[in-house]
């Protein structure tokens, strides 16, 4: 065997396939990775520090900017934490609106993942299809709250805006449209041999490892662990809807791919039921004190974001500002397994595996 000189290669922080400003330093022996060290912090804005001098309503826009591909779920985890602390009731109409936007968000987020993942691997056109369809959801959100990406939509006790007339019909029309498109996606990509050769059996780990590393979302479920917080520890109105939790069994990139596509289908299923059951009238804001002061104490709540378990740990001293606010960000926790997965893989597989983890750097760094 020919010995090659060891090469230290710096990937990122501006490499396009690192999805933002993520950087990883790899040691290469020929084309095989012998060591990988992620370097984070290029997008660290100190959200948790800033939050300590803001009241809870002011913090909501900051959560938009953590996982900017899935801002609605971030909004929810914060307001849900405060509501849990204060024991607030949320009107049914508001809770329905929240659930609908969160599921639409999950679809949009998985579409971004699907498009960019294939772009990473070398297929250009799926990206365009995915963004075309995601645009419909973005337009729906824009109509609802006037923003395309950073929505600032939810409030403690409800939502900021009611759905405008005709909005719910547009959501209803979107569901069958997206179902058709999903089939198209499958025809276009899912059976492609070159694609399958790139992702099958790549980045494998077992359930024990996944649990040890605290992975969540598709990264955990691809090993067959049935753990979706919408089912396991239901929050919001999820216990009212029928849906399945797609599971994998090999724990490789292919399983993660299948799960994410199937999750879009399941989200559409939830949306279909939610739109049908959406209450005709009612309030969009519950009874909330003028100044939001959670009682002294602490709370940890968690929900299922498209990337996994996003949690919010609030320590309050009875003031309008949190004493300490900590976000458990799924991207940050999921990424931790990356150095372990990369050892012994080739450089091309680095891109496949990193993409398969599905990170958003705004959330890794927070």
């Amino acid at each position: 065997m020919i010995r090659t000189e060891e090469l230290l290669l710096n990937v990122g922080p501006q490499h396009p396939s690192t999805h933002g400003v993520f950087r990883i330093v790899v040691k290469l022996d020929g084309e095989v990775i012998t060591e990988a060290t992620p370097v984070m912090g290029y997008l660290h804005r100190g959200t948790e520090k800033i939050a300590e001098s803001l009241n809870f309503t002011q913090i909501i826009p900051y959560t938009d900017r953590m996982d900017y591909v899935s801002a609605m779920t971030n909004n929810y985890v914060l307001v849900h934490a405060v509501e849990t602390m204060m024991g607030l009731e949320v009107p049914e109409r508001a809770e329905f609106l929240r659930l609908i936007v969160m599921e639409l968000q999950r679809v949009a987020s998985h579409l971004v993942w699907w498009g960019t993942y294939l772009l990473d691997i070398g297929a250009m056109s799926p990206f365009l299809y995915a963004f075309r369809d995601r645009e419909i959801i973005i337009d729906l959100f824009n109509e609802l709250c006037g923003a395309r990406l950073t929505y600032n939509y939810m409030r403690v006790g409800g939502v900021k805006w009611d759905a405008p007339p005709g909005w719910m019909d547009k959501v209803r029309d979107f569901i069958p449209y997206m179902e058709n498109k999903l089939e198209e996606y499958d025809k276009l990509v899912s059976g492609n041999e070159i694609f399958l050769a790139r992702i099958k059996g790549i980045g494998k780990y077992d359930a024990e490892t996944a649990i040890d590393y605290g992975l969540s979302g598709a990264n955990l479920r691809c090993t067959g662990v049935d753990w979706d917080l919408r089912k396991a520890e239901p929050y919001s109105l999820y216990s009212r809807f029928e849906f399945d939790v797609p599971l994998g069994k090999n724990g490789d990139c292919y399983d993660r791919y299948r799960i994410r596509l199937e999750e879009i289908r399941q989200s559409l299923r939830i949306l279909k039921q939610a739109v049908r059951q959406f209450p005709d009238g009612g309030e969009t804001m519950g009874k909330v004190p003028r100044v939001i002061r959670p009682p002294a104490g602490e709370v940890y709540v968690r929900i299922e974001s498209p990337r996994g378990e996003i949690g919010c740990h609030i320590v309050s001293k009875g003031k309008a500002e949190p004493y300490r606010l900590k976000f458990r960000r799924p991207s940050f926790v999921n990424l931790q397994i990356l150095p372990k997965l990369l050892v012994g893989e080739t450089m091309t597989n680095l891109i496949t595996i990193l993409g398969g983890v599905d990170i958003v750097v705004g959330e890794v760094d927070c």
Partner: protein
């Protein structure tokens, strides 16, 4: 401010900064009036709140609450920790009512490593999934909170480990749960808690040459312009 003075201020240690700016500003009557009005408003609000609190306290005498349904879970954790780790392992234990009666146990730092092993590996508890690690600076002391769940029984627990602010140090849980690795690095970076036993304890968010730990309550940035 003169160039010279700026230089001098940079050279001063953290705490001494600002001491040179003791000159009294010129008195502005409008500003004075506003300040006075604000102080009066504050006093009125405080008085109103006190009155309301008093009324509320009189109206609702506290009733003895029935024990939480999660009380047995908590007691079992405490029992096992006391039996298998040490009689002194548990400092405090309560259910956190705000958080859906989450069983919360404060474990003594000296016994934390064997306690972590027990929590993860004991068949009955099997807290194999560590979902979150947070560090909190309480000004009197520091605290690391480990939120864990058993995927089989869906039981949850919050385990707290307290430490002094000066030379804060908590035994690392990374050898038990791999997921604690980066979480503890983050706490080390932002709160300055040391984790003996951690395989790779470096800063993770801030640059390696950063001075101080931003999430500490007494944090002062070294360079105030950053």
């Amino acid at each position: 401010m003169s160039e010279e003075k700026k230089e001098e201020e940079k050279a001063l240690p953290d705490g001494a900064r600002g001491a040179g700016e003791a000159q009294t500003p010129p008195v502005d009557p409008e500003r004075e009036a506003k300040l006075k009005a604000a102080a009066e408003a504050r006093a009125a609000r405080a008085a109103a709140k006190e009155k309301a609190d008093k009324e509320a306290a009189e109206a609702a005498p506290p009733e003895p609450k029935p024990p939480s349904p999660k009380q047995p879970e908590l007691e079992r954790i405490v029992e096992l920790l006391k039996r298998d780790v040490s009689e002194e392992a548990v400092e405090d234990a309560y259910v956190n009512e705000l958080n859906g009666d989450m069983p919360t146990v404060v474990v003594r730092n000296a016994h934390w490593r064997p306690a972590a092993e027990l929590l993860k590996r004991h068949e009955e508890l099997s807290f194999r999934y560590l979902r979150n690690v947070s560090g909190v600076d309480y000004e009197t002391h520091m605290e690391v909170v480990y939120h864990m769940v058993s995927l089989g029984t869906k039981r949850e627990a919050a385990i707290k480990v307290k430490t002094e602010r000066e030379g804060a140090s908590v035994y690392s849980a990374t050898p038990v749960w791999a997921t604690a690795g980066w979480n503890e690095r983050e706490i080390f970076d932002l709160l300055g808690i040391d984790f003996p036993g951690h395989p790779d304890l470096r800063r993770i968010m801030m640059p390696d040459d950063w001075v101080g730990h931003p999430l500490r309550k007494d944090y002062e940035p070294l360079d105030s312009e950053v």
